[in-house]
């Protein structure tokens, strides 16, 4: 008998009697023989808890994780420290196991968390409305595209090449469903979005223009100018942002963004080989009834006591069905909880300190490596350089337990020898110096 179920033989008998059938099989008489599986599933037999643990530990041991090497790999997810209080709170069954809060009277904890989360995200992005989470970063970009379609009824989406390749591809995939086209504007010689090239793509049929802050190469984009170019013909200006550096970067909402979305992993979520984390979605107030996803709102109960509910539900699939603003149902509540705990943990001053620390170390690293910059302009957590002998560097570095970063050629063939280096508070000066030393050694070897 399974250890997750309780039905003993005696239970089964009593229950079958109450139902009025003679056997378990009889319950499945409803299923025509033609579509019944007449053999056991071709899967291994069940295992005891310790055996499953051993099996999965064995698999996990074959991954080189962020504590088993010194990693400069970022490119969308970053090795930040997740404080222990997040584990402690998230592991509570009261947060871990409930469904979406359909019964607000017994879900005030989760609902208030959403309200707090929405507040914090609005603070970061400078946009007054935020939902309670979407799946993750790139699909949040796609969700912004859908809002733009519904809002403008136009059929073209314009993206900067500085937008994460996964976001661009995800948007394109979704755009096929939206029956929209996607056009891409390139980067300039500084690794920033080429404003003129982008402006040239924006026309009367453009529903939205997408840029990323900082962009994929780590460049801090001039959002103000980009926004102006984007909005000339009434397109929406959508900024995809890493929320963590927003502690030191001007809020997208202050620089003209209509919508700011992003990947929330950097806010207290594990790397988890790419998920689950959360996406966030914030927008100007006029979009409040066009937002995707759950939104918690404040209200009062019949006794006048303050409380929270899921609100503006007439936007949603379970009420509006084919007219819904989005099809999302299950989102990323637990990950968003990690996000708001993380932001509370950092606090108002810590967020700035974290941003400053990253910016300082990033600049230090760019100088220490002494390589030709692909983006020489402002950077805060990541930067791209050209490495004459990239493969040799990787070979040597990995043998020493160092992961130098992301090879741009995989997604940006124009930067064949490009290396994207990410910095977090986990990368100490000693780590950076070690990478610099490796770079130096390889260059000498190449020169020799």
């Amino acid at each position: 008998m399974s250890t997750y179920t309780s039905a003993t033989d005696a239970d089964r008998k009593a229950m079958l009697d109450a139902i009025g059938v003679g056997s378990l099989e009889e319950l499945f008489d409803e299923i025509p023989a033609a579509v019944r599986l007449d053999r056991p599933l071709d899967l291994p037999a069940g295992m005891s808890e310790s055996e499953v643990f051993d099996h999965l530990s064995g698999l996990a041991a074959r991954n080189r994780h962020a504590d088993s090497e010194v990693t400069f790999l970022g490119a969308g997810m970053y090795d930040h420290y997740v404080p222990a209080l997040i584990d402690s709170i998230l592991s509570r069954s009261e947060f871990l196991t409930p469904y979406t809060p359909y019964q607000p009277e017994i879900s005030q904890g989760g609902l208030q968390v959403m309200f707090e989360f929405q507040t914090a995200i609005s603070e970061l992005t400078g946009l007054p409305i935020s939902n309670a989470s979407v799946y993750e970063g790139p699909s949040a970009v796609a969700a912004a595209g859908y809002l733009a379609k519904q809002e403008t009824k136009r059929s073209k989406l314009v993206v900067s090449r500085g937008l994460h390749p996964h976001s661009r591809e995800t948007l394109a995939t979704h755009a096929a469903g939206y029956r929209m086209t996607v056009e891409e504007g390139g980067l300039d010689a500084e690794g920033a979005t080429d404003i003129e090239a982008l402006a040239d793509l924006v026309d009367d049929d453009t529903a939205a223009v997408f840029v990323q802050q900082p962009n994929f190469l780590g460049t801090v984009e001039e959002l103000g100018a980009l926004g102006e170019a984007a909005k000339r013909t009434g397109a929406l200006f959508v900024v995809a942002a890493d929320p963590l550096p927003l502690g030191i970067l001007k809020a997208p909402g202050e620089l003209g963004a209509d919508i700011c979305v992003g990947e929330g992993q950097t806010l207290g979520n594990r790397l988890d080989f790419g998920g689950p984390s959360f996406g966030f979605f914030s927008a100007a107030e006029r979009f409040i009834r066009k937002m995707p996803g759950r939104i918690a709102g404040e209200t009062r109960d019949v006794d006048g006591k303050r409380g929270f509910v899921l609100t503006l539900q007439t936007r949603e699939q379970h009420i509006r069905r084919e007219k819904a603003t989005h099809n999302i149902c299950t989102a990323q509540a637990l990950n968003a909880l990690a996000g708001v705990i993380y932001l509370s943990w950092l606090g108002k001053r810590g967020l700035v300190e974290m941003g400053e620390l990253m910016a300082r170390r990033t600049h230090y690293a760019r100088e220490a490596l002494g390589l030709e910059a692909i983006n020489a302009g402002p950077v805060v957590r990541e930067f791209a350089v050209r490495v004459p002998d990239l493969d040799t560097l990787f070979e040597r570095a990995r043998a020493e337990g160092v992961n130098p970063g992301y090879r741009l050629r995989d997604t940006y063939p124009e930067y064949e020898d490009g290396l994207l280096v990410a910095i977090t508070e986990r990368r100490t000066k000693a780590d950076i110096d070690q990478l610099a030393h490796l770079v130096g050694a390889v260059r000498e070897g190449v020169a020799a």
Binding site: S2, M15, I19, G20, V21, L27, P32, V35, L37, G46, A66, D67, A75, G76, M77, I89, S91, F95, L96, P98, Y99, P101, Q103, E105, Q108, G109, F115, E116, E123, P128, I129, P138, S139, H166, A176, Y178, A251, G253, E263, D272, F273, G274, P276, I295, T299, R300, D301, K305, T311, L312, E322, T330, A331, L334, I341, W345, K348, A359, R360, E425
Partner: protein
């Protein structure tokens, strides 16, 4: 019971973390700085630099913990009691899964790690793909979609790509009137028009209606089987024939897969595309609204269009070496990406652990017991003193769930399904899904799952009975319920009319003194 005079507990428990903030407090210390202490002005130009800090709470670690622990206590959860939320498959979340998901080799693995150094993760995904494919009876699996509705969207985008590739331009998608809301919402997002198909007197698809609507312009029929009434559609093979006859795809909404694991497979029923809700059938904890994962499985003809990358396995070349796992990006007909990276890997770990624990037999037993529990509870609730108020919508053997109608209670007792649900809160059980499926008047959709012991089912039946009996005497009790919860019935209409969706927006009912400690920031968000 407690009279007001004797209960001094106040409203302190509704303060937000912002309202607990005091300037200068902190929970975070930055690590020691070893690199040169350049001022930010030297590193960032003025146009890029934030001048007013974002307003975040300022609270010490102990008080953050107390705040969120305190909030948690206002949630009812699956580890607290019976949670028969129909269509949601609230089965036990084994604690082992949290342990294996937290192993650093999983939790701390970067998604862009070279496959060479992520062989364990890729093998896990490959094995999970294989197991899911076997369970659905469809050979090709993509783990990428983030939830059920995301899987649905992927499914329709695949359908679109498939037809376009054949030069067919189709515009309609059929959904039964019992469909979950995500189905029609997805149809619109995927660029199709929804055409509703009716339900017959047995609770299945109205075949005549289907035949009438299944035209050459139809791209897909989206179905779940058992359907949202908890009933297995016996005509499934005929339905498949009709749909395939017009060249459309048949899509399986896998939310109800928990009824048929190891018993009947969507692939064998004729479905082309299936999504799984790993957070339902495969027990990823729901987290109060996610995370989940919505992998899809497809038949051969759909395979070329699957999202990229796919996890693939290459057999060893030399002897002694094991197989090698890789991410295959080179899929020219792929619809592209549904999201970043490879999907919700942390969810995969849990669901894979679940499949390992249960094995072939255990999965089948899980479905059997889910169906046993549902039918037993159905039988208990068929007692005349209950059924006269809450008759079952379709009186048949059900699968993993069943739907009652609250029509009788409304008409005879003057209490609505909502009132019954709210009164259940006082009994410390979670109410069923209510007012869905739309087809059933005042619906109560009950899914006990296999992990509930008989006593919990018996207790639930008694709760229903006692609520009805109480309402016979005094319907006001239910109408004004709940009474014992952290808050009572909330003004949802008011919330939607004048939305307050963040701290300080509109009228803030927080303590004004505290509000002053957090003056509005430059962005105006707080």
């Amino acid at each position: 019971m407690i009279d007001a005079k004797l209960d001094p507990r106040g409203d302190e428990d509704t303060l937000t973390i912002y309202e607990r903030s005091v300037e200068g407090r902190r929970a975070f210390t930055p690590p020691v700085e070893e690199v040169p202490e350049a001022p930010l002005e030297d590193l960032l130009p003025g146009w890029a630099r934030r001048t007013e800090p974002a307003v975040l709470p300022e609270v010490s670690e102990p008080e953050i913990v107390r705040h969120y622990n305190g909030l948690s206590k206002k949630n009812f959860d699956l580890d607290a009691g019976f949670y028969p939320l129909g269509s949601c498959t609230m089965k036990h979340n084994p604690k082992l899964h949290e342990r294996v998901a937290a192993l650093p080799g999983h939790a701390r693995l970067h998604p862009l790690q070279d496959p060479e150094y992520a062989q364990g993760a890729l093998e896990l995904m490959y094995r999970l793909q294989g197991a899911l494919g076997e369970i659905a009876g469809l050979p090709h699996v993509s783990l990428q979609p983030s939830a059920g509705s995301h899987g649905e969207l992927a499914g329709l985008l695949l359908t679109h790509a498939y037809h376009e590739d054949r030069g067919e331009h189709r515009h309609k998608v059929l959904t039964p009137d019992t469909a979950h809301g995500t189905n029609p919402a997805t149809v619109t997002m995927a660029g199709y028009e929804v055409v509703k198909v009716g339900t017959d007197e047995h609770g299945g698809v109205d075949i005549a209606d289907l035949r009438a609507k299944a035209t050459e312009d139809v791209a897909c029929l989206m179905l779940t089987n058992p359907n949202t009434l908890g009933l297995f559609d016996r005509n499934i093979s005929e339905i498949a024939e009709v749909v395939h006859g017009v060249g459309a795809t048949l899509y399986y909404d896998g939310a109800n897969l928990n009824a048929v694991m190891g018993i009947s497979r969507p692939g064998d029923m004729g479905f082309d595309i299936v999504h799984y809700n790993l957070h339902k059938s495969f027990t990823q904890p729901h987290g109060g609204g996610g995370p989940g994962a919505g992998p899809i499985a497809v038949s051969d003809r759909i395979e070329p269009y699957l999202p990229r990358p796919q996890v693939v396995r290459t057999e060893a070349e030399g002897n002694g070496a094991g197989p090698r796992y890789d991410l295959d990006h080179d899929r020219p007909k792929s619809i592209g990406k549904m999201r970043g990276f490879q999907g919700n890997f942390g969810v995969f770990v849990r669901s894979y652990a679940y499949i390992c624990s249960l094995g072939a037999e255990g999965l089948r037993e899980a479905s059997e017991l889910a169906v046993l529990n549902a039918n037993y509870l159905r039988a208990r609730l068929a007692a005349p003193d209950i059924a006269r108020y809450l008759p079952i919508a379709f009186d048949r053997i059900c699968m993993h769930e069943f739907v009652l109608s609250g029509k009788g209670a409304r008409d005879q007792l003057g209490i609505k399904t909502l009132d019954i649900a709210k009164r259940m809160l006082d009994h410390e059980v979670h109410p069923p899904t209510v007012y869905f499926p739309l087809l059933v008047d005042e619906a109560l959709m009950i899914e006990p799952t296999e992990t509930e012991p008989k006593e919990r089912l018996d207790h639930f039946a008694e709760v229903v009975r006692s609520i009805l009996r109480e309402a016979e005497e005094d319907p006001e009790i239910a109408r004004n319920a709940p009474y014992t919860t952290p808050v009572r019935r909330l003004d949802e209409a008011g919330a939607a009319k004048r939305p307050v969706v963040r701290q300080g927006m509109g009228e803030n009912p927080g303590d004004p003194a505290r509000a002053q400690e957090n003056p509005a920031s430059a962005t105006g968000a707080v």
